[in-house]
Symmetry: C2
Subunit: 215 residues, 2 copies
């Protein structure tokens, strides 16, 4: 028995890409160049092609559309509600990525008229069911916060503890106690001092990096 009498669908991989830009947690959005939802903001993503996995598709689309240095890619879920795409039967498989923006320029490509980092608390109306996908991603991000070191992929190679704390605070949406956060980091043993310091307007801050063997 082959697949002759089986319904067929298009599959899209959509990406919720988080990054720190300007010390704020943001999501990568594109403005669509084609219908449907022409001119609307949407998640980057694209159609699965034969011969690749959905994860590869997500990686390819992200690279094609933005040239971003990929770090973590987590499966988020499948969105299959009939009618979610006005073109017809499109199932979306969503992935989540955490990237860092140091020296990175986002360039709009192919279907994207524009691409931009948008603060999470200032999201515009989104095409398709992408608002729901982002919601799933935010929930997942907070749920996994303390279980994986993935969040550190948002930070550059070396960073101050205050910067790390700020990331955690933005994700959970409330302030953390400085000493408790630091003693938690110490207990986990996931960071190491680089020996360097960041000098700014005030007392210099020690720089840290992820312990070798992380990820």
């Amino acid at each position: 028995m082959g697949l002759r009498h089986v319904d067929m669908f298009a599959l899209a991989a959509d990406l919720v890409v988080f990054a720190l830009e300007d010390t704020r947690l943001k999501i990568l959005l594109i403005r669509r160049g084609n219908s449907p939802f022409k001119g609307h903001w949407a998640l980057p993503g694209g159609f699965l092609e034969k011969g690749e996995t959905l994860e590869q598709c997500a990686e390819r689309e992200l690279a094609e559309e933005t040239g971003i240095e990929l770090r973590h890619l987590k499966p988020l879920g499948t969105f299959s509600k009939p009618g979610r795409d006005p073109r017809g039967d499109v199932i979306s498989v969503a992935y989540m990525a955490l990237v860092r923006t140091d020296g990175l320029t986002v360039t709009a490509g192919s279907d994207a008229r524009e691409a931009a980092w948008v603060p999470m608390d200032k999201l515009p109306k989104l095409a398709f069911d992408h608002a729901k996908i982002i919601d799933t991603a935010r929930t997942r991000l907070t749920d996994d916060l303390y279980q994986s070191q993935a969040v550190f992929s948002l930070l550059p190679d070396s960073f101050t503890l205050a910067e790390a704390q700020s990331v955690f605070e933005q994700i959970i949406g409330e302030p953390l106690d400085k000493r408790n956060f630091r003693s938690w980091l110490h207990k986990e043993g996931i960071l190491q001092e680089t020996g360097e310091e960041r000098r700014g307007a005030h007392r210099p801050a020690k720089l840290y990096s992820l312990e070798e063997g992380g990820l």
Copy 2:
């Protein structure tokens, strides 16, 4: 732009259904009646049809093939490796369910020549990449054990604490301390005494049921 130039795929929902049978934790498998993998054991599941979500598809297939009283259905993941199905481009979206077998008979239907509850530690060789899917399900089951009351869906309406403990022990694969397990249950407040007892070969055991408002 429509979907004319986009690759199309068949989508299957596959189910990892856990149940307690004969006090042992088992998985529902079918023996395939058609090629490919004719005569091999596989997970129950079937193709997505237009107009339904993948979750509805999974529920429908489970009902069609087994008539099982459905309790919990959790999305597990997407399996899209090219070549995973010899018929061609089939993407599998896996779900997990926990059911109870009291007074339930599994009847093989449609594509299934046979359907059976198979102990988790005695799984046969499986069709497609279903062994991998089961592996994902087992990991998920253990990860979520203490976070949700879903496991109690494996047990009948009323049960003894020893039976509940046995379920937990089979899932994590190691023995638990009786007193600690009970005080944890007490702290969580998820069970209530029914007032009944189960009488057996020895001292009778009190029966418990899930606190109202569970799930």
